[in-house]
Amino acid sequence: MKHVDEYRDGKLARAIAATIAAEADPTRDYAFMEFCGGHTHAISRYGLEDLLPANVRMIHGPGCPVCVLPIGRVDEAIELAKNPDVTLATYADLMRVPGSRGASLIKAKAAGADIRMVYSTLDAIRIAEERPDRQVVFFAIGFETTTPPSAMAVKLAEARGLTNFSIFCNHVLTPSAIRAILEAPKTGGLPPVRIQGFLGPSHVSAIIGTKPYDTFVAEFAQRIVVSGFEPLDVMQSILMLLRQVNEGRTAVENQYIRAVTPEGNRAAQALVDEVFELRDSFEWRGLGAIPHSALRLRERYATFDAERRFAMTPIVASDNPACECGTILIGAKQPADCRLFGTVCTPETPMGSCMVSSEGACAAHWTYGRFRDRARASAGRAAS
């Protein structure tokens, strides 16, 4: 497929890896965070870490919307779906996400709740139009990529006079999470993590542009390279970060220039701004409460807000206290450092956010990484 296959060439990937190895200063350690779960997935799936020299380390960040959704919000959605008047429309990714005590939407559906998987918010609107007797609630989650489609649904519902449509809004903001990670050592008493640069998200940046990252250069002397999702995009972006470090530069650069501009998608931004406003604070699974990190519906669109329409009460639930996601997400620890990893906690029975989706750090390590650990360990034994 055009615009995909060209960026998956294994030979080129190894050649770029050779350039990275040649330019990596052996006296230095490089630690870069890929914010986005999609990058984590690409890095794991294509074994890109194996191509990198030992002193170039990738830290898997929190950019996986399913992973950072707090259990309490999943519980709330399940409660809502149990309301006999409600049809809950949701993206497929959310069906298996565990809430408290092993509950999930898929189990609630099996028990009789009216839950429909949809591909697009437009499908949820269609259901509301076809079933005026049902209260259709769209379970809206995601970063800046999925927010404009939710805003569009609200606008359509209003234009078509739908009184039986609302959304349960859980949209979160990428720059706020990056800030929380950079400030974590200061605010949370967490160990300082030396992140020397970020692989910036691809499609979030297609919406918000590259400008919102400028502040991280000014305030934190950070480096951000907005990167495409394909393996060669990732390799080139790592090389760009490494060159910035070597040259003592801190800058926002754009590798994904074929789809991302400095300004981003203005129409989408205006739409989101019209429908949504900032929440004072929002809980992120694994990272805790982050100020101004999520959106809710503006007063003007209050009738489309499921939280208000159904007077939903917040449910607070917490992860297993042994879960290390918080420290893994800021790069202070690695999945294998968690004593629950692979024993109590697996993708079938996730105990924490990083195991929930294949884009999470622990799940990626479970699926692809542990074999590498084993191979390295045996290679180490053979060498000694």
Binding site: M1, K2, H3, V4, E6, Y7, L12, A15, I16, A18, T19, A22, C36, G37, G38, H41, G63, C64, P65, V66, Y91, D93, Y119, S120, T121, L122, D123, G142, F143, T145, T146, P148, P149, M152, P201, S202, H203, V204, A206, I207, G228, F229, L232, D233, M235, Q236, L239, Q255, I257, R258, A259, V260, N265, A267, A268, L271, S357, E359
Partner: protein
């Protein structure tokens, strides 16, 4: 779940919709977020919406840069 994929516009439909080819599958998507498109354009599609247009010129430039990144050590050795 922020995975989004390039798709080629096959047909412009009324009401801000378009028919696109996605890895052999034909889908109807909303083009409301990207404005005017022409048949043959490539767009990034996510949850049924086109998020941005792919700039063919910048794509070519990126491929050239990739080749350069891959070739750099050989040049250095020569």
């Amino acid at each position: 779940m922020c995975l989004a994929i390039p798709a080629q516009v096959r047909e412009i439909l009324p009401d801000g919709m378009a028919r696109v080819g996605l890895d052999g599958v034909v889908k109807e998507i909303s083009t409301a977020l990207v404005g005017d498109l022409a048949v043959g354009d490539y767009v990034i599609v996510h949850v049924g919406f086109a998020l941005s247009k792919i700039d063919a010129v910048e794509a070519e430039r990126t491929l050239a840069l990739l080749a350069e990144a891959a070739g750099a050590p050989a040049e250095a050795m020569a």
